[in-house]
């Protein structure tokens, strides 16, 4: 079941992405309205991370495109924020919590300009929102997983974006952090911002998300959670393996074949 909307904030059109020549996403096609908290769910290796990476131009799609606010990412970059998975960076990096959060203001500053009072206030504000005031000068390797995740969230907040893509913000965090993060995200959507989250915990889907996107290499469902988060569709997402699709994907990889005629 795929529910499309008019004037979408996110439009994914016919997206096919290959990784090392193996198609990980086939013909993904959906639209998202603004002002919602959307969850992308699916089993491991279903292509969830690849999907938001494609939205941020971090991977090159084999076919199709993603439009944000009806435009290409390049035109609206300052309105979009991306939160990578926590484990993609080296937390031994010599930086304090505040240093990392302040980094969120860098893109809007451009070349040669450095943070002044306004940017610093913004960073401090974000620090408060994620409840890390006491850790401002702490070196980032000395934080717990949950605290590190909150630092990433705070960095995204200082970007003043209207659309957020977050990769597994709830992975490996403590209960308190989970509560703080969801509070912050809900506050964002209440201000009309759109948040798209890669998520792995089925228990909390109904509680957290207004909209649910279910993928397993292909799109299974996309729509308001109340309509699409049904036992049948969950079963279809996590259960039903498509042997033929997997075999063809494998063939493309081993025989080094392109997924599209060019």
């Amino acid at each position: 079941m795929i529910i499309h909307v008019d004037q979408p904030v996110v439009e994914v059109h016919d997206l096919t992405v290959t990784y090392e020549r193996r198609p990980v996403l086939w013909d993904i096609d959906f639209t998202l309205p603004g002002g919602i908290l959307a969850g992308i769910i699916g089993p491991n290796g279903a292509g969830k991370t690849t999907l938001i990476k494609a939205a941020m131009d971090l991977v090159v799609p084999g076919s199709g495109f993603v439009r944000l606010f009806g435009k290409s990412l390049k035109e609206v970059r300052s309105k979009v924020s991306y939160v990578p998975q926590r484990r993609t960076v080296d937390w031994d990096f010599p930086a304090s919590v505040y240093d990392v959060i302040l980094m969120g203001t860098y893109p809007s500053l451009g070349l040669f300009r450095y943070p002044r009072k306004a940017e610093k206030e913004l960073a401090l504000d974000a620090l408060r929102k994620v409840e890390l005031e006491d850790f401002k000068n702490r070196q980032i390797s000395q934080l717990s997983g949950g605290q590190q995740q909150r630092v990433f969230l705070a960095r995204a907040l200082t970007q003043n974006a209207d659309l957020f893509f977050m990769d597994e913000p709830f992975a490996g965090v403590d209960a308190a952090t989970e509560k703080t993060i969801i509070k912050v995200l809900q506050e964002l959507t209440s201000h009309g911002k759109t948040v798209v989250v890669v998520h792995h915990d089925l228990q909390s889907v109904a509680k957290y998300f207004d909209w649910t996107i279910m993928i397993h290499s292909r799109l299974i469902a996309s729509g308001p959670t109340s309509q699409v988060f049904t036992p049948e569709l969950v079963e279809k997402t996590y259960g039903g393996k498509l042997d033929l699709l997997t075999e063809v994907a494998h063939l493309l990889q081993t025989e080094k074949l392109p997924p599209r005629e060019d």
């Binding site: 970059r77 990096f93 010599p94 930086a95 450095y114 070196q139």
Partner: protein
């Protein structure tokens, strides 16, 4: 006076290399720096043959070209040739270095570089190799000017683009998502490394320059968690290495650049020991911060 110039040259090398080394270390690309330091050799020899002198500008241009070429070849073999990263680095730099040595042997009569100098430099000759203006005025050792210029270029570039280097170094995906080109900044960093290696080449040679790239930043990183403090510590350690290394060399009557490397190793060992203590008595020992 000679001692002063030797120490000054050593300090300039140590400081320039150290600043860049911090970024290399945090980006896990130290071995690419090592590769560049070897592979600029053919570039130097060719520049020598074309310009017929140790003219600074020709050398620096050749350096940037060969340095970037090295980076490009490594990337190319790794991506197009599907050769694992470590082997791509190893294959590329040994090959270019071997070509450099062959060029030196073939053009031995024209090129004033010997094989040993290539490896560990001749910092002792720095004070005699003077820059003399056509009017006959003696300006001082040539190396000092060349290294000074490169240091200036490095410091200005890092200062102006600190934000960009910082983002790209810490979190590549985030940097790309904000529209930065990781590739562009990568190549800028590599160009700076190439400039630095060539400028340092005559005084400390291809391999010891690696010690200056890696030892002071690694020691500083073990002592501090703060980026700015690490930079200051690196500069400080670099200068100490140059001074103490010089006197060690005089004392044992041995290679100056080699002795500086030995001192860099000793300082690293001390930092390592302190880091051990710091980990064990986290609370009792304060983290250094300026």
């Amino acid at each position: 006076m000679d001692a002063f110039f030797v120490i000054l040259t050593g300090s300039l090398v140590a400081v320039t290399c150290g600043i860049l080394g911090i970024f290399l270390m945090l980006r896990r690309m130290v071995m690419i720096g090592d590769a560049i330091s070897h592979s600029v050799l053919p570039g130097i020899v060719i520049a020598f043959l074309i310009s017929g002198s140790r003219d600074g500008l020709a050398m620096l241009i050749a350096a940037v070209i060969t340095g970037l070429l090295t980076t490009f070849i490594i990337q190319f073999i790794h991506e197009k040739g599907k050769l694992q990263a470590d082997a791509s680095i190893g294959v590329t730099f040994t090959w270019l270095f071997a070509i450099g040595i062959i060029l030196i042997s073939v053009f031995a009569d024209y090129v004033d570089l010997d094989q040993e100098c290539v490896l560990y430099g001749e910092i002792a000759y720095v004070p005699i190799d003077l820059w003399i203006l056509p009017s006959g005025i003696i300006m001082g050792p040539r190396s000092v000017y060349m290294l000074g210029t490169v240091l200036l270029i490095v410091v200005i570039t890092i200062l102006f683009f600190f934000k960009e280097f910082y983002m790209v170094t810490f979190d590549q995906d985030f940097a790309v998502s904000t529209g930065l080109s990781v590739t562009l900044w990568h190549y800028i960093l590599m160009a700076l490394i190439s400039l630095t290696t060539v400028a340092s080449f005559e005084s400390v040679g291809a391999i010891l320059v690696v010690a200056f790239l890696v030892a002071p930043p690694a020691s500083a990183y073990l002592l501090s968690d703060d980026f700015k403090t690490i930079i200051i510590l690196t500069v400080f350690i670099g200068i100490i290495v140059a001074i103490s290394g010089y006197f060690l060399a005089v004392y044992i009557n041995s290679s100056i650049s080699g002795s500086m490397t030995v001192m860099a190793g000793i300082i690293f060992a001390i930092a390592w020991l302190l880091a051990f203590r710091r980990r064990n008595f986290q609370k009792s020992l304060k983290i250094i911060k300026f």
